[in-house]
Symmetry: D2
């Protein structure tokens, strides 16, 4: 058991704080012979990287990843081959502003984990949020880049589907569009509305919540396991472990509470390929914790960041009542950068279950 | 790693199928010196037991639990004292109707895990749903009864807060009411509406989804852990592992996506007891994966059972297209009996984190 | 983590005390489609069963095993087919003599775990040794019978190679002989000497230590893993977890401390089958934690049981100094019945590594 | 599960190869508030560091450790305070000679893990032994330095007690002496004999095995757990995971096979402090897997390194028969540097069990 690890056979252990020398993770259990490059991991990190639009924090971090172990050079330039031993991924922290932390060190920002870390440990790294900073999520994204290689044919894509109470129009859903706007929005018209919405939020020094959807194609039927190693349970845990996530759903999710059995059950017919084919996907690709072969569909709700310019009532470590206003560099909508993070967590869960399934069934 | 275990220090391993000789679980890691009785466990099992109203399946199972190990007799009559060694809980299956399974053995009921078990294992126990039957949840409830004793002062209560699109009126929320109607409904007026709603569902041979809310009081601040052993991540995994659950949320959950940072962050003042006191509980009692000391609030969505009388299109194990209608004894709304199950899973997660917290911090 | 489980993918959780209603274990992670019968498990249990000669305890336990879950009936009579869900194995305790435990409840038998259980838990099941009784090992043997089926072609055999200071003559090593004498001795002449030796020990009410050797044939090269999941490390942990075991070695073991590099390294040539062939097996079939394809050879030392008729100085739970003499039914040499137990632990470790290897490499 | 992690609550994950950019480990689960410095870790690394006498390899590695996360600066200069989040320890590789690996890349050195890594993974880092190099053990020693701080009052010391067939004279055992000679030998006279012995071995380009003893004082009674989380089982697994270790024993170990029950059981009397006091320590401080409060005594056998100048028969990756002679920098007796490594593994196991015990019992 480790509080800072996830996965069982594809296992990731992360370390690091916002303002330490570096952050990183160890990826253990990777099959030998996977071929990739640092540039390939970097591409995913770049998607999560802050400072790329005015809608995300202006902290400047190159997030340059280095692979320190577990690989041998491949034939092609920059190509690496996994050897089956642990892969250490290392990212230096570059833009930790040295500043006076005396104020923030003692004051608990409402909605942040400042107070609970102190309640638990009695000591914490208060610089830039320390371990609870979203900075840690870079290591997840790096691990996810490896995870994507484990199951051949796996494609994991994410999209932001709601900001505040403005949801996308699903009839306009277009994966290609998600890379054309700064919101990972699959619907160009909604992206424009979000731009206006977020400009207002940003100018008010406020923040706002969002919903992210992650879809995994190419997951073969059979992955997952009853009853506590359910694929959906592991995806739920992975997504819920992301900072600021307050809800997770699979397939129809909470909407399924309102359905009748007739409407909810996905009917089956034989496909042209001689395999069973589902006529709908209310289940989100998972029945009884086991993949059906349909796309896996997961969504998660991200709360608004609590770093806002409006003063909020709080207390400090000495028990004094104070008003706290969080200056500094922050995301008005952390849900945006949560998209590549959500993808990474789903990819890691699937990679893990692929190995677990292969172990038990030999397939 | 075990697909059929959950928890780390308070660890539960379950076994058994719907129509085998028995079901049971092993609870390992229990502190020594806990005092309880079989009757005490039984009380929780009785809440989950089928056949107690016309709104649940008519299968008759006494669900009589026996404690086979890990205890010594206490002083009082029937009292048991945990010794710190594994506690085996055993429940005989009594009402497995012996019938002809030849039809169901080959036909995949849409919305059920029949097809995915076959896809994964190539062999499955099709009698009464086998391992994927809700029958297994009795063992969780039994384990949860032990879990409730681990953290002194812990109170875990559940309520059904929505059936179909009929939600309770929160202004009438009354915990006492949950034990007065057959729905665990905390709002007497809504309970009456549900009775009508479910009578209709039942008569149509249909089924309907629901939302359950579980609240844990008495959880001391500090329980939980960054970043992958978050208390909310473990609760989410536990709830998502219950049959038919498709979504989980903590505190404001998906609604927090629509909030601004000002509205979402729970402000803090000093309480009369000299301890920090939160002025609201949008967080559901968890910040950064760590308990704040406020009530833990979790909700989960239960899909409608797929066992319905309306024929649905499907295929059989031979690849023949068939129509499937599920006769037999079934719950029109499995969300009802999910209430004590949800309580048990939350209790187990908290017991586990109580031990994990004590390990690391000595408190 | 569970104190009462072992293995990762082939995972066994045991429960039960010497004088409770039953003992048992849950075997999780078994591949689907394994075919076996209760009689097949019983055969191994019968080898460990007490009371079969005058050299083991006279407690009479039929050790009748029942498979309560995780299987479907096969075609042949009594045949079971694993479904991939957890297999619960259940053995009733039959011959727990009801007697007065008031004396033993408070007095610590020297060399036994009575005092350490009390030091740890403050409460213990003192009846017949409770959880620390060798009775628990029956569940390991039952689990081992399943483990033997996981890796096709695996053969695990054990032999007693030393009692007291009388070791076998390796030039007369004959596996068939191990089933012809009551000692699992592979050398008929030594077996006769042991009979005399043990008759003396038994008549004196004394006990004596022993060394057991377990050899696994048919382990394919590649099983195992650097660096903390080494096959030898897992075998060592498994054997050391058996009651009364105080030492474990692989291959030449402690004797390799006296060797030079020239003598210790197993040279390699190409075999007639076109595969590398080792010219000796000092390594015991494991290099760098990974199987070489040669037989795996492990040995473990079993201390003499501390249940003897000679009074020994001790204390009781009240801090009074007492003399303790252990009457009752005991093994003069627990090393004898440790043979099938050692086999089971090695078989379980190999089954686990077979699944782990398959997970990572796909082979 | 992770092949490259050990411990459960005090959990160490290591990464790195002999000739990569760096090696390191992540230590998770550390209690908050531990105070230490990089210099303090360094002291233990310096004991393991090569090139300190003519009896160890001449590779020059400063083994300079850096703490990259999980700490805040303390008050004193260089002092660090653990925050309870994962501690990343990082050691750069400095003296990887760039040389032509074309020969060693294909040839399997007998007695080394070259061939088994290839059998398992089909690809390996052959530079300097890659992952199977003893270089990895530096990370264990660094982790062990943290582990020593977890249990207040714990003192873990190691000594070399045998090289080849020359064992120490226990009547001259002196812990202080272990730091006065280059062998960690507790007996000055034997150290002189070993100097002669090893000079011969070294000049012949040969190598020789050894036995290391590790003793832990200050372990409170109660640590450990039945039945698969036994303290001795975890120590055995930890020691067996060290490169070249082929045997492990606790207390009297293999010698207990030759004892009678009368001689083996440690008698007990009440001590002057009003606590039970054992009159001998055949058990090595552990009964039933649980610490007695006496010193924990473990020993392990280290085989001679297989890197020798005498040509040995082998094969290469193409199936060609070759003769292999291992030039380069090597330890004539790897048992010497195994002393601080063994200490580290025992310290880690005890730290882990301290946390596990505290979790379950609250003490």
């Amino acid at each position: 058991m480790s509080h800072n690890s996830f996965g069982h056979l594809f296992r990731v252990t992360t370390w690091g704080e916002s303002h330490g020398a570096a952050i990183g993770c160890v990826v253990d259990g990777t099959p030998p012979g996977l071929r990739f490059s640092e540039a390939q991991i970097q591409r995913y990190l770049d998607e999560r990287r802050p400072g790329q639009s005015r809608y995300t924090t202006q902290r400047q971090e190159p997030d340059q990843v280095r692979v320190l172990s577990g690989v041998m050079p491949g034939e092609a330039d920059g190509e690496l081959v996994s050897t089956g031993t642990p892969i250490a991924l290392h990212i230096d922290n570059v833009d930790q502003r040295s500043k006076d932390y005396s104020e923030i060190a003692r004051r608990y920002r409402p909605g942040h984990a400042d107070i609970t870390y102190d309640m638990k440990y009695g000591v914490r790294d208060y610089r830039g949020g320390g371990r609870s900073s979203a900075r840690e999520t870079a290591t997840r994204v790096a691990a996810g880049a490896i995870a994507r290689l484990v199951l051949p044919g796996l494609v994991v894509r994410g999209a932001l589907v709601q900001i505040g109470d403005v949801a996308i129009d699903r009839s306009r859903f277009d994966w290609d569009e998600t890379r054309r706007n700064p919101f990972f929005c699959p619907d160009a018209q909604t992206a424009e509305r979000w731009a206006d919405l977020l400009d207002g939020v940003r100018k008010r020094g406020s923040s706002i919540g969002a919903v992210v959807e992650v879809v995994a194609d190419g997951v073969p039927p059979g992955l997952g396991a009853p009853l506590y190693g359910k694929l959906d349970a592991d995806i739920a845990a992975g997504l819920m472990s992301i900072n600021a996530v307050k809800g997770v759903e699979i397939g129809d999710g909470f909407a399924s509470a309102t359905l009748s059995g007739e409407d909810n059950a996905d009917e089956i017919r034989m496909g042209d390929d001689g395999r069973p084919q589902f006529l709908s996907n209310h289940s989100g690709g998972i029945l009884g914790g086991i993949a059906t072969g349909q796309p896996i569909v997961a969504r998660f709700a991200v709360k608004p960041t609590s770093s806002i310019l409006t003063p909020r009532r709080s207390v400090d470590a000495d028990g004094q009542e104070v008003d706290v206003m969080t200056k500094g560099r922050h995301d008005p909508c952390v849900g945006i950068r949560a998209v590549p993070i959500g993808e990474a967590m789903v990819a890691c869960a699937i990679a893990d279950h692929y190995l677990r399934h292969r172990a038990q069934t030999g397939r």
